[in-house]
Amino acid sequence: MTVDLFFQYLFAGVTYGSIYAIVAIGFNIIYNSTGIINFAQGEFVMLGGMISISLLQFMPLPLAIIVAVLATMLVGALVEILFIRWLERPSVMQMIIITIGVSILLREVALHIWGESIRSLPYFYGNEITTFSLGSVHISPQVLWVIAACGFMVCGLSLFFKFTPTGREMRACSVNRTAAILCGINTRNMVTFSFMLSAGIGAMAGCVMSPITYTQYDCGTGLAIKGFTVAILGGLGNSMAAVAAGLLLGIIEAFSVSVVPLAFQDAIAITILLIILFIKPHGLFGSSEAARLRDF
């Protein structure tokens, strides 16, 4: 493999890895506040892309993206309020079935609204063939947008959780819900808020990736599997580890093209998921003690 090709694969890997990482962070936020995996996370990504594409007819691109993110956050809040909030002490199984049901529902609604056609946002800067050269490596500017969006979100989130009172309260709810209630914190609102936050993050990912990967009503499922793999690989609930694991999976996938046919690319994620679940279910970076305390 030439050096150029190596960097070309590497950048492709980092791009997809960033997308997986964002989806995985969405999983983690809801997991941390509720202890469940929200299998509708991929649909938030799809909704973000689809809504912004539709809005593009009426407004400029940046505004379309912002409105799409806000609209998806609203959908996230509605999902929590309609399907999850009123459950008294739901079991893990109940929650999983509900979120899978919600994901099917959202997909079908999207099919009715947007049909089966494949759409995409225009490139944020330039077009499909615009590249800039780094030495002899050619990179699309959209790749930088994806990486920047991922970096921005990770930094923003860690600052939010570490330094703002709301972030602290959300962490408190995930660490010990009863104690959080006894501090007077409204834990139900925190759960709604975590759904909004992860829906917004998913939608943001859906917008920046749309020019590269295209958006279709059912594109969320595949992403959810990849994101779930990454979340497990990094250790559930750990957003920093999700970034590392996301980049790892993206790069492995990108380089696999030089070894096995392209058609096997998706199988790699599933294989990694299975291996991880068998030999290290608490993830690469998760501690086994913490994993034992969780019910999932």
Partner: protein, 241 residues
Amino acid sequence: MLRIKNLDAGYGKLRVLKNISLHVDPGEIVTIIGANGAGKTTLLHTIVGLVNSAAGEIQFQQKCCSGLTSQQVVASGCALVPEGRQVFASMSVEENLLLGGYVLQRNAGRAAVLRELEYQYDLFPVLRERREQLAGTLSGGEQQMLAMGRALMSKPKLVMMDEPSTGLAPLIVRDIFSIIKKLREEGNTVLLIEQNAKAALGIADRGYVMEVGKIILQGPAEGLLINRDVQRAYLGREKID
């Protein structure tokens, strides 16, 4: 301050509390003693709204508070130091205390929270030393102090403590109880639940004895200490006449 009349509560069809009546006046330490499974924790959880009451009335500061959510009860000035400390283990000591100030922050703003934080650090100097440490790494006694400090951060009118001495070394238990006494001297009202009947009655003004969901005895603490039934059942000694 707190007045409970004919309270029934339980989980599903199981009646745990049967016809409980008690009251706590301002500035008192009142203790409820009883064996495992007597319903003491359930009683506290019912007061604070974690368990719904089935019948009867709970009045906190002349206002009925049955049917309120836990958030509303806590916001009205009734704090619970839960059994087993329940600190936020993976968060720092200071973060734990700040979370305890959630209600205060809403009512009085950030400055009041910081003032209260300093006050708690003065009350529990060991917490100031360990402010950056994760709460889960503290010793049992320090975690108990943290749980107490966290509850006090909301400047509650009534502090309820659920078995603060569980699992602690006797020396630490003495510290904890002297802090509770100090709280009363500073004008706090304390409802203390204990299995360690001797220590609890030693600092309390009044006491109630609970057995299988009912209050079977009540009176001034000194009276209960010399009561023969209490001595036989909870203090592990019987005077032989």
